[in-house]
């Protein structure tokens, strides 16, 4: 699975201003709704579901990366977005570091395989130090989209 298969490019956020976990999640979910990737009237439910998932254990997986996510019956296909924070956000991540890169995913309850393949793609690409560093330095949605495209074209991971 490639980023272009699940990342809604119109909702990508660079230079996020949110400075705590709930605000980051809300900003990204609202961005998905503004781009039409999820319904406006599902925003609150999706934000709550993602926060509930975070209570089971932070999705801050280290290296300044978090993958907040939930299953939600309102989506028919896996949809996700990317947010980059220059200041970094305390996300109770597993290594204690602040999080700069967010990959937020909403998937249909009956498609666990798609969710796994998205996680696989994200983690595989982020293992590459260059991709990780460039993404953290990206200052516009266009830069982020360009890096995702390069990753999709195997510019970082063979």
């Amino acid at each position: 699975m490639k980023f272009s298969d699940f990342i809604n490019v119109a909702s990508i956020k660079a230079d996020m201003q949110a400075d705590d976990k709930p605000a980051v999640i809300r900003e990204l979910v609202e961005s998905l709704a503004a781009a039409g990737a999820i319904s406006q009237d599902q925003v609150q439910g999706i934000v709550s579901a993602i926060m509930k998932r975070e209570e089971l254990g932070s999705t801050g997986i280290g290296r300044g990366v978090a993958v907040p996510h939930t299953k939600h019956a309102s989506v028919e296909r896996l949809v996700g977005t990317v947010g980059v924070s220059g200041i970094g956000v305390d996300f109770n991540s597993l290594d204690g570091d602040k999080v700069h890169l967010f990959f937020l995913l909403v998937s249909p309850p009956d498609r666990p395989g798609d969710h796994l393949r998205a996680l696989e793609n994200i983690s595989r690409q982020l293992r590459d130090d260059t991709f990780c560093r460039f993404l953290k330095q990206a200052r516009s949605p266009h830069d982020i989209q360009h890096l995702l495209d390069e990753a999709d074209n195997n510019q970082f991971v063979s």
Partner: protein, 102 residues
Amino acid sequence: MAFPLDIIATRSVTVVNPQGFHARPAHLFMKLAESFPCRIEILKGNETINGKSILDLLTLGAGNGTTLTLRASGEGAEAAVEALARLIEAGFNEMPPTEGPA
């Protein structure tokens, strides 16, 4: 490489929970793996990943029914493989019907 003299334990396990090896199972696996001093790896096909790295664990993309090989080397290798295999075989404690809808 000091490994040839170390104790090496391996075991083949199948992912049984419906959701597969997603983020929460990866976290549980990593925490348990870190409680052992030995080196822990997972083999899937021709890939070998570090069982103590959550990023590596997520690259497995191991869905329900996937067969994985656990390999531990060094002190506590056998106990580690046993405990980690049990975690996977128990479906990371998220087997139906205890798992509700999203």
